[in-house]
Symmetry: C2
Subunit: 314 residues, 2 copies
């Protein structure tokens, strides 16, 4: 399509509605056998299917307006199952101010929930993956690693004390999209480039690096204390949990240094947090600053897990 | 959602973009085991997934602009299979002037193709399911029954001479959306109510009747000659093929009698045809006029078929 306002590989797609206004659209499909871990209810799975899409709008600073939902439903599902799915979808939408306008229902072998989300925004406020500049402050809207740890509990049956387990499982079952943060940041005009972290922090940094033709140095890993604790208990690397997890819906942002205070203020006023974790540099690539210098962060991303077999792929 | 410009059960969903402009959106999911009969190629299945959605836009008189496609791909599919799907999707979109802007790919047990289609239109031109009035002329944009006959060839192995078989299978494998007809009719302002016939002519008439609070008398069945021939060869009812088929993408229209000539002219200029088949009446219901009076047309619709087993469902 000619004259697209946003590159093909960004978090969402957009078309011009004339003047400064854009129509922003996004579709994302949830398939139970790769996206729904054991222990997650149908209500939670349906809510997550919506949140996944909202998160991409959050990363672009676009307010979601409405969504359509197409369902593939296995024959064995009961009317009550389908009701739970409907309620989960609606909860996910209303949590972020969006409405479900319609959809389509089919029979399928897997549970398939396909959301298409719509909104409009001012072209000048849209936060893109491209645009980061050397010297920008690298920041995220929350801590990482809880989802990766939670999935390890569910898929590998790793035991932990309940005060650690609860927040880790909650991160898996009840993911949150950083919509209010994204909307506030867009209005602040402090952001040069943005992406959500649904494929993991490392992967998102590499995507941002590719789209913006810059590199990033992570000076401080934003690992959640619960993930650090989980790593200690099981002798795991907390950097691994923080960088190479996924299904986490924080925003990863390159922020103009001269507008850092405005960005911080905007996110705080919206009730969120903004954590400075590093900086953008001229040389392409992604590195973690260590005592010995800088070691490369690999372009490894989140791999979907296989069903309830407790096996992770790849 | 408050102040929706279009009822929840219409062919598409719509939200106001301010003033007279609407954003029109639609999602429809194709699942191979219920929507793709034996003999249909992946290219054709993918093209059909797009055409299904375009047809709903055609019925509302809305020009499609862009679509997103979410795919569920079985593990056994090859790169070539996926390429064929991509090409079919693009062909379906370009045939009707739309562009594919993005999407999402997942692993699934079935082939699942979920399209989300977008466009804008003037609210005053949108053709709705509601609005038909007693006295309106009932019309369709083409003949019916070829798809039902073609599916019987594929699913029940009914033999026919090739000069009959080819157009019947073509109707199944290469469905067409009546977009140019729908766009021309919208501009003519001659249409009081409209629906597409994807669930069969009988079902569509009942839906139109329910939404518009009127009834319809079909005075002349628009059965395609090839379907009549097929019915004769196999001792089937051609009325059954015409009324209770499905996966046919004609438009079913209630037209203001005083603007019939304008409607006919608009469709002809667009290169299509408009067939008068009956009229709208005050009493709710749908009837077929016969020598003996009028017999009810049942609210039976198209049932999806089961895979390649040759069995149709329920």
């Amino acid at each position: 399509m000619p004259n697209l306002p946003l590159g093909f590989g960004d978090d969402v797609s957009a078309v011009s509605l004339g003047k400064d206004e854009l129509l922003v659209i996004k579709t994302d499909m949830l398939v139970d056998k790769t996206d729904v871990p054991r222990g997650m209810s149908l209500w939670q799975a349906a809510r997550k299917a919506v949140v996944m899409n909202i998160s991409d709008f959050a990363a672009k600073g676009v307010k979601p307006v409405a969504l359509l939902v197409a369902l593939g439903i296995p024959q064995k599902f009961t009317a009550k199952d389908i009701e739970q799915i409907g309620k989960g979808l609606n909860s996910g939408a209303r949590e972020y101010g969006a409405y479900i306008l319609g959809g389509d229902t089919n029979e399928a072998s897997d549970l398939v929930i396909c959301c298409a989300l719509f909104g409009t925004c001012s072209a000048s406020l849209l936060m893109k993956r491209e645009g980061a500049e050397p010297g920008d402050i690298l920041a995220v809207t929350g801590e990482f690693g809880k989802t990766a740890a939670g999935l390890k509990i569910l898929l590998e049956n790793l035991p932990v004390p309940s005060e650690v387990e609860n927040p880790l499982l909650d991160a898996v079952f009840m993911p949150k999209a950083r919509l209010k943060e994204g909307l506030a940041l867009a209005v602040s005009r402090a952001v040069n480039a943005a992406i959500d972290s649904s494929d993991g922090l490392a992967w998102s940094l590499h995507e941002l690096s590719k789209a913006s033709h810059v590199g990033f140095i992570v000076e401080r890993l934003p690992t959640a204390p619960e993930a650090v604790k989980f790593a200690e208990i099981h002798g795991l690397s907390h950097a691994e949990l923080c960088l190479y997890g996924g299904e986490e819906y924080e925003l990863v942002l390159a922020i103009k240094p001269e507008l850092w205070d405005e960005a911080l203020d905007a996110v705080k006023k919206a009730g969120g947090s903004l954590i400075r974790i590093g900086k953008a540099v001229k040389e392409r690539g992604v590195w973690l600053k260590t005592d010995k210098g800088a070691e490369p962060i690999e372009p490894r991303g989140w791999e979907h897990f296989q069903s309830c077999t407790g096996e992770t792929r790849g």
